[in-house]
Every structure is written in C-alpha cells, then in structure tokens.
C-alpha cells in the first residue's frame, strides 16, 4: 500500500552522503593520457524528505553524478552512503534491495517509455522484477493506485505512450518510479522537455508527491528558476566540481561565485523588475581537458590573475551552509567593479 498520510519530516542523519566522489574517463587508448574529469571530488548530502537542486550546463557532470548516486556507473574514487550503507561496497543481494529505494525520472518522456508496451505494463514492470509474490490482480490494483497518485485516469492503463501527451507520459514515468515505494527519486531534467503549460502541472505534482510520500529528491536541471522553486538547498556544478552550494535564500539572495552570477544574469528578468548586474562570461573553445588552476578561470572576468591560473580553489564556507569555490568570492556588483579596474 502507498501511504498517503502527510509525513512529518524529522531532522537527523542525511539519507544520502556523497564523499569525495570522482568519475574520470580516459579518452582514446591507454597511452593517450587524456582524462576527462566528468565528476571531480564532489561531496554533498541529501537531507531526508528534502530536495537538493543540482544546477549546471551541458558538460558540468551533473548527470554523471546522478548516475553514480543510483549505482548506474562506478566511481573512480570516493563513496556514496545510502542510509549509512556504502553503495559500492555492498553485496549484490543488498544492492538489489537498495535499488528499490532509489529511482529516476528522465528528461524525455517519449524516449524513456517503451512504445510497444501499455501504460499498465510499463508501470507494473518494476513490480514484476522486485515483487514476485504479487498476483496479477494485486499488480493491476497497484498500477491503478499509482496512476491515480500521479493524476491519470484508470482508462490510461490500457493506452500506449504515443496515445498520450508529453505531460501524461511524464506522469507515467513518475508512476513507474514510485512503483516500489522508493525513498530517493532522481529527477534528471524531468520538466525540461515538456510544454510550458504542462511544466507547472508536473512541478506541482512532484511537490505534492514529496509531501505525501516523504520522498527525497535530487533535482537535476539547467534551469535556475525551476530549481529555486523546487529545492531548499542548491549546488551549482561547473566542469565536474561544485563551485557554489547553499540554501535557496543564500544562493539567490547573496550569490558569491562569478559563475552563479553569470547564470542568474542570463535569465530574462520578470517584466517590470530590475535586471541583475550583468556578469558576462568569455566564450572558450570546446575542450576535453581541464585548464590548470581554477577550472573556471578561462571564462571568469577575473581570470587573468595568477592565483586563479595556478591554484585550484577548494569549496570553502562563506556563511552557515553556504560554500564557494573561488579565490575572490563576492557580490556581482563588486565583481564587476573589480573586473573594471583590471
């Protein structure tokens, strides 16, 4: 049964702890020596029943990090603790149990659903794998329950994905992810491909489900406005590293990393409001290797400084819960003034 009682979220140990996680890929042959650091020494925590927003552009490593969390890939270094269990140092039997607890919803609802299966078959598949004792009738009842939970009607059970709209398909993906009562759901750009008028429906649904089922979300997106609405804590990733992290109020109220400033400045402001101080990044050529020093310096307005070109800045606290990986953390205004002085 799915519990739909409101659940009070207790503080306590985080559900997921990520420690020094890295995933490096070697390009070409063993001798080429070129290594892509898709995820590079990342540490973070997911509080129970809360949402961590992971923001980054293409190539930032946010999806690789999400895959590592779900044990869909193995790290080069570091570890992931799920409710205290080291995910990469556990028996396959234990891993099978863990997999039920963590699920994922992908970006493209059409591509992530098998077009030859009905909604009922799609949603009941996890049950077939993990709940073998259920009878056919019980599975059917469970599917209807799940469809109702995500706002679909019973008659949708017999439909094929192509008969549904993008928003309805995304609801099916969510129902499938919830079939095994997971505790962690990774939402990887889950609303990026749906229509504007559908996006709000799905966001409301996800927040509602989180409350009712006490779910913990990792919300991966490139969209700052959406992440602000969804996540209480936000981490900004750039080329495999978290460059700024903190509570929503700090990250949007007092951002300190030049990259965060640039991301915020790139959103068209709401009509009638003052656009933020415009931090403009330099465009760089496509490259698969990291620059020396701070990985952001080739695009940073202050990137000409020698410390930035030689020393990789660690993630350091600037306030309670708010950390920045920059040698010169500051507001956008003072950054622009400093860059103007050269």
């Amino acid at each position: 049964m799915i519990s739909t009682d409101p659940v009070t979220i207790s503080d306590g140990a985080p559900l997921v702890v990520v420690e020094g996680l890295s995933r490096h890929f070697r390009l070409g042959g063993r001798s080429s020596g070129r290594i892509v650091r898709a995820v590079d020494d990342v540490s973070l925590e997911l509080a129970r029943g809360a949402t961590l927003g992971l923001v980054g552009e293409s190539g930032s490593g946010k999806s690789t990090l999400a895959r590592l969390l779900l044990h869909l890939d193995r790290p080069t270094a570091g570890r992931v603790l799920f409710d205290g269990t080291d995910v990469f140092a556990t028996s396959s039997r234990e891993l099978r149990r863990l997999r039920r607890e963590m699920q994922i919803v992908f970006q493209d609802p059409y591509a992530s659903l098998n077009k030859r299966k009905t909604v009922e078959q799609i949603v009941s598949f996890p049950l077939l794998v993990h709940e073998r004792t259920l009878t056919r009738r019980e599975r059917g009842a469970r599917v209807l329950e799940l469809l109702a939970l995500v706002g679909l009607r019973p008659e949708h059970a017999a439909a094929y994905p192509r008969q549904l709209s993008g928003g309805q398909c995304q609801r099916v993906s969510i129902a499938r992810a919830l079939a095994l009562n997971p505790r962690l759901v990774v939402l990887d750009e889950a609303v990026s491909a749906v229509d504007v008028s559908i996006q709000a429906q799905i966001l409301n649904l996800l927040r509602d489900l989180q409350q009712r089922l006490a779910l913990t979300y990792l919300f991966v997106t490139h969209d700052l406005a959406v992440v602000r609405y969804m996540a209480g804590t936000i981490a900004v990733m750039y080329l495999g590293r978290i460059v700024e992290t903190g509570p929503r109020e700090a990250l949007f109220g007092e951002p300190r990393h030049p990259y965060t400033h640039a991301l915020l400045a790139s959103i068209p402001p709401p009509p009638g409001s003052q656009p933020p101080a415009e931090v403009v990044l330099r465009e760089t050529a496509a490259s698969d290797t990291l620059p020396p020093g701070c990985r952001f310096h080739p695009r940073c307005p202050l990137g000409e400084r020698s410390v930035c070109q030689t020393v990789d800045p660690p993630l350091q606290p600037v306030a309670a819960g708010h950390s920045v990986a920059c040698h010169f953390p500051q507001s956008a205004e003072s950054l622009l003034a400093e860059a103007g002085r050269g």
Partner: protein, 323 residues
C-alpha cells in the same frame, strides 16, 4: 516587406481526412521589425515558418493563402525559383547548430559555400568575406578559426557560424526557429545580444519562433501568440506580457516558473494539454482548458477583437467586454 495572408497548411495522411495544423494565419514583417511567434508544441508555429521557406515536410502543403515578399507572391513559385529566395531573401537559423553543420568540412568552407551559392564571387574574395562575416557575428580570431572544424567549436560558436551563413546574402527576413533552445543558458543571452545588434545594423526583419514567452518579450517588438493553429493574440511585446488579453496568454504567463515565483505556493497551472491538430475541439480551440469559458465558446469560433491595442480571438477577453 513580408506579408502572410490567411495561410492554411494541410497534412494528408493516406486515406484519412486531412488535418490542418495552421488554420488561417495572417501577419506582416516590416524591415527592421522583430516579431515573435510564441506557441507550444502543436500550435503550428514551426509549420508556419517552414511554409514561408517552401520547406514543408512531404505530406504537408499550403492549402490556401498567400505569402508576399516585397510584393512578390511566393506560394506559386517553382522549386527552382524558391531555392533562390531561400537563403537569399529569406533565410533561417535552426535550433541545433551541431546537426546543421557538416562535421567533415571546415567552418570556413561551409560559409564560403553559402556565399558562393548566392553570388558570383571568386574563392579569394569569398574567403575574405567569410572571415569578415565571422568577425561580425562575434567569433574570436576568425582568421585562425576559419580553418577549424565544427567539433572544435562550442555550441554558441557554432550557432554564430550558422547565423553568419544565414545573413551572408543580406536577406530581407531572417527566421530564427528556437535559435538558443539547444544552447547553455549563459550562451543564450550572448547570442540574442549579437542577433539584436545584427538586425539593427542591417535593418533585417526577424521572425523569432519560440516556446519561451520571456525570451520573445525581451527580444521582440511585437508578439503573436499561437494556439491550435491560429494566432490567438497579438500586440506589442511588453504589453502582451504585462497585460494579456487572451485567457490563454494570461494563463501561460501565470504558469511560467520564474525567479519571482512564491516558493511556498503551488503554481497556477493550466489543466489539460495543448491540442494536437487532429483533435481540435469545436469553437474556440482553448475552451476546454479555459477558466472563463461559456457555452458560446464551445459552439462558435471567436473572431478577432481589438482590446487595449491587442488583437485577440476570444469571446470573453481578459479585462475586455466580459459580462
């Protein structure tokens, strides 16, 4: 400069009744004007753009309506004549710069090819022109980068190259179909700024096709909002965003998850989903999702009404003569 009158696009799938994804669309683009066509999937915005270029997919055709470019009717032109108009007087920038460029040829080669397609110039001169164009679209070190291949460019730089190719023959009208959707957010703003400068300098008419109302409002002078194959509201960009007249525009604006959203409250979402062209409801296409709908809305398609300087197709426009 460009005038579209009552354009209807029809798609015929074998043995089935034809469907009409574009159902009578009319608009004008003046020289130097930036026009936004905003809509969701299935609204007909991209098919409208493709039909201007004579690039409709195989089963689709212009069933009726006219397209005039500088007084010349385009819909009756032969493929050969159209090929001359395309890229010459009307050109397009598409969403995905990677799949639009040939990965095996240098960037310079492709720009030069575009230049030579529309003008009789020598190789040397075309190369110089290509470098000047690439500089103009903001590519750093164009003399050196002109001999690079597309994979050596970032997404933003590739889109700059596409724009250079699109403007090389000095077109009258540039159609930009979701030009920044596939790009990173920090790059999007730079590309739009560059586009803004170019169209001002060259007095280009621009049609920006997008799903992003915020982007359209920031870039365009005027906006047409499309829904169910019709332009349901048009007006000055800032005015449409601030004081929409059509309930669809209003609901769309309220459902956008922006930076000013109250995080403690649910978003006012629009129920249902945008209709596909083969499942259009009777009467007003928006009525099943509309909070203001009456019986009349299901019976009769509304005619365009002028309300507060906007043109809107609604029986009960927002802030208008609603009973």
């Amino acid at each position: 400069m460009l005038e579209v009158r009552d354009l209807v696009v029809e798609i015929t799938v074998h043995r089935r009744a034809p469907i009409r994804p574009v159902r009578g669309v009319s608009f004008e683009v003046r020289s130097g004007q930036r026009l936004g066509i905003v809509g969701e999937s299935g609204s007909g915005k991209s098919l409208t753009a493709l039909s201007l270029m004579g690039l409709l997919p195989p089963r689709a055709r212009i069933a009726s309506g006219e397209v005039y470019l500088r007084g010349r009717e385009l819909t009756g032109l032969s493929e050969r004549e159209l090929a001359h108009v395309r890229g010459g007087q009307i050109s397009t920038v598409y969403q995905d710069p990677m799949s639009s460029l040939n990965p095996l040829q240098t960037v310079g080669h492709q720009v030069i090819e575009a230049i030579c397609a529309h003008e009789d110039v020598g190789r040397r001169e075309a190369r110089d022109r290509a470098i000047a164009l690439l500089r103009d679209v903001g590519l750093p070190e164009p003399e050196r980068r002109v001999d690079d291949h597309p994979h050596e460019f970032s997404g933003g730089m590739r889109q700059r190259v596409m724009i250079a190719m699109a403007i090389c023959a000095n077109p009258d009208v540039l159609i930009a179909d979701e030009p920044t959707t596939a790009l990173d957010v920090t790059t999007q703003a730079r590309i739009m700024e560059m586009l803004e400068r170019l169209v001002d300098e060259r007095r280009l008419g621009v049609i920006l096709i997008t799903h992003d109302l915020g982007l359209a409002a920031a870039f365009c002078d005027d906006i047409h909002v499309m829904y169910g194959g019709r332009i349901v509201e048009s007006g000055r960009a800032a005015s449409v965003l601030r004081e929409p007249v059509h309930p669809y525009s209003e609901a769309l604006i309220e459902s956008i998850c922006g930076l000013d959203r109250d995080v403690d409250r649910p978003i006012a979402a629009i129920s249902g989903h945008p209709p596909l062209p083969n499942e259009l409801p009777s009467g007003c296409p928006f009525h099943p999702r509309c909070g203001y709908a009456h019986d009349l809305c299901a019976r009769e398609a509304p005619r365009p009404l002028e309300v507060r300087g906007h043109l809107a197709e609604c029986h009960f426009p927002v802030g208008g003569a609603r009973s």
